[in-house]
Amino acid sequence: MKTKTRKNWQDIIAGYTFILPNFTGFLVFTSIPVIASLVLAFLSWDILTPAKFVGFNNFITLFKDKDFWYYLYNTVFFMLGIPLSMAFSLFLAILVNQKLKGITIFRTIFFLPVISSMVAIALVWRWIYNPDFGLLNSFLRYFLKQQPQWLSSTLWAKPALMFMGIWNGAGYSMLLYLAALQSIPEDLYEAARIDGASAWQQFRKITWPMLSFVNFFVIVMGVIGGFQAFGVQYVMTGGGPAGSTTTVVYYVYNNAFQWFKMGYASSIAWVLFIFIFGFTLLQWKYGKKAGEYY
């Protein structure tokens, strides 16, 4: 009995010591900043002069801020690429799931953009989209008298970035779909074939329901990632032309680190958090249900 309590004490001490390094960092770089950020959202502060408490003013300004709504629209617009990207990734996954010689080479190729440095990728696509000498317009010149101006056009900049995003991220979802496809038991298909089900029926009744979990995962991760879009826009268009590719996070970045409106930037970040939080809750609520299929 005595040794047991001693063991318990040792466990308690070990428990706290093991957590200490991680917890210290967690406290300094996560917990305290979260609270500080919430406080900041109610302040007007440029770091240099003393902060002023402004109550809900930041949020009221934000609500009336036409730019913010436009950037939110841009951010959501980019997310329209998610369903396209999913369909394309699933198509790729079905292709690379075929038992063919050398199929891993194709898997490697499709996954290549995912591991590549985003900035390098963004640069080459900026070059491809160049209106005068870019690869795309050189090709389109054979068919169209007037080619789109792509990244310099308020109309085409968003779709151009979206298309590049699909190319860039398809390999990642492809891999998730591939893993799911390979985990579907073969006897299900065999039984269906014996019953005379066509290839399409097999896909519709077996494959698709079995993929519901991955579908869900890809959508949620896509939306969460979509709300945080920044790097590609920063490198390729600088948010332009005329703000047509500025995202919400880009607006946070500009407010905080270009214009030093720390309070206002924090309030935008919190609104962003609420959107993301909503989607995470959805994930928890329906994700469990979708997981039961699996």
């Binding site: 466990d11 428990g15 292709l95 490697t108 900035v119 080459v124 891999l175 969460i224 946070v252 958090f273």
Partner: protein, 287 residues
């Protein structure tokens, strides 16, 4: 007669199989080609004379092939320094994060102490908060400490994440307890058990987390952009972006610089292809 039809059916089956296969290869090749196109175009442009890029129709094989762009790009900004910075930052963050996460995860998974579950809930809750929320206060803390444009700023905030702790805790819970109990009876200390029994068993999970963290910090863009000013402190992605700022439309130079940044990663990836993909599926789905 019966024999004949059987043979005939088999032959037809073989032929339709062949047609299906060639069709699949054709489709895969077209898609593969489209995926590789930007990379090939990058390489091609990087080997051209500056004037060659304005030629119509575009030439895939540069004539003449020049390597000057690489030399010029390499000398224009300190790419070597960017590499070293990126390696230092990624290695420190990866080892630090894996080690502190593993320690904390073991504690959460196995050791009983007051307040453990509440603390764990706190960790879980912060996993949902996007980095952009904490970014501003962390920047202010770093600024007040005078750490802007130092390795401290690049490394310290990345050392601790709730995500790694969460993932490893889930893994540790799957390790049978008997192994540890045997070690306790042998008089092993808790740290000894962690170090000699649990960590070796957790190698696959640790490797997965390490790959994931390394890739993440290697490609991280926003944070290094915010906390670095001087060329000497920039990491590769931010360094390349500022190179773009200097040579906005010098396409041959820009593509050479992009190749410098991309090539090492692509080479490492091709040789460890299986490892990468497996790890990503594991962290993606189960994390």
């Amino acid at each position: 007669m019966k024999q004949l039809t059987k043979e005939y059916i088999q032959k037809r089956k073989k032929r339709s199989e062949l047609i299906k296969k060639s069709f699949l290869y054709l489709l895969l090749s077209i898609l593969g080609f489209t995926f590789l196109l930007p990379f090939v175009w990058m390489l091609s442009t990087s080997l051209k004379e500056p004037g060659q890029v304005f030629v119509f129709p575009p030439q895939w094989i540069p004539n003449p092939v020049v390597f000057r762009n690489y030399v010029e790009a390499w000398n224009a900004v300190p790419f070597g320094r960017f590499f070293i910075n990126s390696i230092i930052v990624a290695v420190c963050i990866t080892t630090g994060q894996v080690f502190t996460s593993a320690l904390a995860a073991y504690s959460f998974a196995r050791l009983k102490f007051p307040g453990r579950d509440k603390l764990f809930m706190g960790y879980l809750a912060t996993m949902m908060i996007p980095g952009q929320v904490t970014m501003i206060p962390v920047f202010i803390i770093i600024k007040k400490l005078g750490w802007i444009d130092t390795y401290y700023a690049l490394i310290l905030p990345g050392l601790f994440t709730a995500y790694g702790t969460f993932m490893l805790r889930q893994f540790f819970l799957t390790i049978p307890k008997d192994l540890e109990e045997a070690a306790i009876i042998d008089g092993c200390s808790r740290f000894g058990i962690f170090w000699r029994v649990v960590l070796p068993l957790a190698k696959p999970a640790l490797a997965t987390l390490a790959t994931f963290v390394f890739l993440g910090s290697w490609n991280e863009f926003m944070w290094p952009l915010i906390v670095t000013n001087s060329m000497e402190m920039k990491t590769l992605p931010v360094g390349l972006a500022s190179f773009q700022g200097l040579y906005t439309t010098d396409w041959t130079l820009l593509m050479a610089a992009s190749m410098i940044v991309l090539a090492p990663v692509i080479v490492i990836y091709i040789f460890n292809q299986r490892f990468f993909t497996k790890g990503i599926v594991m962290t993606g789905m189960k994390g």
